[in-house]
Amino acid sequence: MTLLETLVQPVAATGMFANAWWMIGAPLAVAAILLLAGRVADAWGHFLAVAAVVFSFAVAACLFAQLLGRAVDARIVESQLFTWFSVGAWTFDVGLQVDPLSILFALLITGVGSLIHIYSIGYMAHDPRRRRFFAYLNLFVAAMLTLVLANNYLILFVGWEGVGLASYLLISFWQEKHSAAAAGVKAFVMNRVGDFGMLLAIFSMLVMFGGSSFTAVNHGAANLPPLWATLIGLFLLLGACGKSAQVPLQAWLLDAMEGPTPVSALIHAATMVTAGVYLVVRSHVLFEQSAIAQTAVVLVGTVTLLAGAWIGTSQDDIKKVLAGSTMSQIGYMMLAAGIGPAGYAFAIFHLLTHGFFKANMFLGAGSVMHGMHDDVNMRNYGRLAQYMKYTYWTFFCGYIAIIGVPLTAGFFSKDHIIEAAFHHNLIIGLCALLGAGITAFYMTRLMFMTFWSEKRWEPGVHPHESPKVMTIPLVVLAVLSLVGGAAMNWWIQTWLEPAAGNHAHEVALFTPIGGVTIAVVAAGVALGWYVFGRNPIPKVAPASRNPFTLVGRNVLYGDLINDSVAVKPTYALGRAAVATDDAALDGAVDGLARGFGGLSVVVRKLQTGYARSYALTMTTGVLLAAVVLILSQLA
């Protein structure tokens, strides 16, 4: 285990690495084909889409294998594709960077993406616009790969906007539902706030470093004035907050569950919402220059991990519980990413395992909805473990993975983060520990309400297991949820060194803090059983005066806060602008017109129609002119 002394320099791409753009090109081309081909492609479009993503996965796996075979200091491979445009002294190149960090993301995106594509064949089988759905999914995969494979922030931003677009299109995929259309717009607008931060960060980089490539930024960061390091860090954090649904820009994620469930699994759990974590880890050199920015990242992560868990405890919509859980888990990743060199690998580690078990559980939720006539209210579920065996057991694997039962994926990744948080700061560590307890509580609640306890089905609902095309991806993801952590625990920190910097490795399994964590998780599960397991669950949510429950049910009043902080002032500003426009600008123009109108009423009386009076006027005018001329000659 060698520690690298300095940042690894990128090497030029050769061989297979020069073809890294195939990963992006294939899904992009298929998205275009599906959108342009029209109904012709209805019959086979989804197979083509699956093939494109599987192809990307194959390329990614191939590159991964090649990277494994390379020397440690040759593992950052850059391939310049073409010059996008050049203006004056600026030249903007399009290039891809395959390194240990981006290839892990590429594998996650295309791997989980492939499984979700396959699952969607079954899930969307009866949707009249299935072809378009697959086109958008492929568009998303292409954009997400652009985001993680870019070798500079500008191209990263192109992918960043591309995933935002795909997310918008897919959230509001069932556009005939007003709530879905509104949710899409909400996600898009709230992401704009984050994009604003991204743009400011990129502009600042262009000014301070003379370019936006990762190499230029990493080299220039050491000489960056502290003020600018803090500013750029905070701008990047704003961008990350928007994309990753972190407090204060968290409110869009729960509404985003209006989209089809595979979308929630792929975009709003496994990949897109983790782009903020990727951004922070990718920019770690910048964040290390500013303690303030790092502290801000830690704070945002800690607040979000508690806020998301809080939301998860009181929602009745199964997808919204999972969405709150996603926020919470991304909060853990942010926390880890903000801690510093010790946390980067843990952030990415948790991101990968979370990608497995959360995609697994979202797809499981989709399978449950599939069997329950698209009902999402857990109060209408119950006792499904008997009726949906595959769904239940795969979901159970996700459940034990997320709460961190020893030796499952979440156990490895989350405990490392909690451990690192305790080393960083006692209060942060306690918050992370508390979050783990709440996670166990709300996931137990979800399990009781959905799979255990008694039947509370609506009349006419006959739960049935989903087809094989949906259960096989579930099984694969369930296996990954169980073994993914153990597979990467001893490997990922060394692997990420070239991209994320070096630090002392932490691979210990059963530490005192780890023991406390397991105890807290067990307490959370027990509390979940005590509250929801002992007695039958009411079919209608009981009225509650408990402030914790009320705040949780209302999603922490996020909409209310946004309404009063942003929406109402914006409306007021808009109304003021309209009033000013009406009164001042339109008033001035209208007044001028009215003035001319009144003047013309007076002046047109001169037009009497009498030729003789015209003659008089003319003569008088000529005489006056003559007098003036003569007088001026005399003077």
Binding site: R604, K605, Q607, T608, G609, Y610, A611, R612, A615, L616, T619
Partner: protein, 99 residues
């Protein structure tokens, strides 16, 4: 003959013509007054030519005559047409352009 007297005569004729245009209602008379003004101008031009011993003024007066002739053609036609439709040649009655 003293050219200054010719200029005085031209001024008097012009003034008479001008007053006629402004005061007389009959279109034919007003028209004749316009001709009077034109000829007063001609007289002034010729007098100036005499004073300076050059031909320019005389040539200009020919142009004025040509213009006057053309104007008579058009003007008389208009007056005749107005008379035919309205049975009057009073310029005060031809006031359709007022409000």
């Amino acid at each position: 003959m003293n050219p200054e007297n010719m200029l005085m005569l031209a001024a008097i004729l012009f003034a008479i013509g001008g007053m006629g245009v402004m005061l007389r209602r009959n279109a034919l008379v007003a028209f004749m007054c316009v001709e009077l003004m034109l000829n007063a101008a001609n007289l002034a031009l010729v007098a100036a030519a005499l004073m300076h011993g050059r031909l320019d003024g005389q040539v200009a007066s020919f142009f004025v005559m040509v213009v006057a002739a053309a104007e008579v053609v058009v003007g008389l036609a208009i007056i005749v047409t107005i008379y035919r439709t309205r049975r009057t040649t009073s310029v005060d009655d031809a006031n359709l352009l007022n409000l």
